[in-house]
Amino acid sequence: MAKGFTYKNTDSIAYTENTTVTADLDRTGYLTQLDFLFKITVTPPASGDEPNEDAIARLIKGFRIYSGATTYFTIDDGRQWYYLNYFQYKGRMQATTVPSPGGDATTCYYLLRVHLGDRFYDRYDPLVPIPARELAELNVQITWGDAASDIGTGYSASGSVDITNHEIALEPGETRADIWPNGILSPRVEPKTWDLGTQSYTNLSAENDVPVGDTLVYTGIVILNSSGNRSDSDITEMGVKLPKTRTEPWKMDWIAVKAATGADFDAPLVTGATLFPWRWISGKGMGMDMSAMLPGDVKLRFTKPGVTDADILLLHYLVG
């Protein structure tokens, strides 16, 4: 039987403002979970405005785990990742409060996790591993923002990110086929920042195509208002449409969606964010099988009553 191992990755990632930093991931086994502990020392100004909402997450402008042209996990806003983890881990991820102006410099610990399987509390869940030992290279890349813009005016920051790897290692005589008899499942993550602009969209008329080709497991959704903060008032309804069958199999009020997903994931309600499981639509299994679908066959829809600017951060997670 294969064994699970946990160890600190050799490389860590330094924080450098407005820079993209790359590090190597160790390649000794099949990675089932990666923990990224952000240790950011935040120095507040003597006076001024309070720090931004989700300040540390905003510092992450991009993140990617990849090997050559193959990407295993990627986001283009740290809030997509944080709120994915929020629902996976019942809102209990480590996130130190950023100090207010006039306060002491504080090291903020922020744990973000990449777990690609469906048993979030099994660190050696073999469902969707990254086959690190079979790869010629495996890298992680973070694009950093800057403290003055993302944390708050007058703030500065320094620090680094420690990585903890959780992996399955084969025993002598054991083969990959013993654990993955029909092959390994591959993850596909597609982040999208959808700018709805200032116009209103009535009756679910704001539509966006969801990615096709694999099994769509869940979509992380974060609604941002014109100030860039999470909001529950900019979107009032959410739905799914299947144009080819001329059907709208699912729609709910935004607050009801949040309440339902909060119950499903056992996570406290949080303003402006949810994690939509596509098995709600398919009715079974891991999610919605999109292998025979074409782009445009499935649309995610929203109603936006107001005429102020709003963005939706989407994070589609597929398995193939």
Partner: protein, 145 residues
């Protein structure tokens, strides 16, 4: 002798459907897989080859050892040999899963969706098993075996 019993079971037909032979085939595959599991539990490093060795050995023993063949009878020996060979093949290749996925790919069940703003996808609990679901279930099965 066991051969007589097996012959009688093999002769059972309902509406001319060979129920008895089907029962024997299923029983023999069960015996083949059971023997494979015993070999695997005693010799785990053999891995999936435990099934090949045990199943293949059972098939050869049934057909080539005279005493065994006489005890089982011709029908019994043939059936158990088929069971042993099936277990050997199954240990190396998931033939059943492969065939199921191919057939499902030809004729996927279409989900029935009712119209209306408040409706939801109903029925057609999809018989179609996607490749992802098939892989996922095989990973889960391997994890608990």
């Amino acid at each position: 002798m066991l051969g007589n019993v097996i012959d009688r079971v093999a002769g059972v037909r309902v509406f001319d459907v060979p129920i008895g032979k089907a029962l024997l085939i299923l029983t023999s595959i069960g015996v083949g897989k059971g023997v494979s599991d015993i070999v695997y539990s005693k010799w785990p490093t053999a891995g999936r080859y435990a099934g090949l060795i045990a199943g293949g050995g059972l098939a050869v023993a049934c057909k080539k050892i005279g005493a065994v063949r006489r005890f089982l009878g011709e029908t019994g020996a043939e059936t158990l040999a088929i069971g042993g060979a099936s277990a050997a093949i199954l240990s190396l290749y998931d033939v059943q899963g492969w065939v199921e996925s191919k057939l499902a790919g030809i004729a996927p069940a279409t989900p029935v969706v009712t119209a209306g703003a408040t409706s939801r996808t109903v029925g057609a609990p999809q018989e179609y098993l996607s490749d992802v679901e098939r892989k996922a279930s095989s990973i889960r099965r391997a994890a608990i075996s």
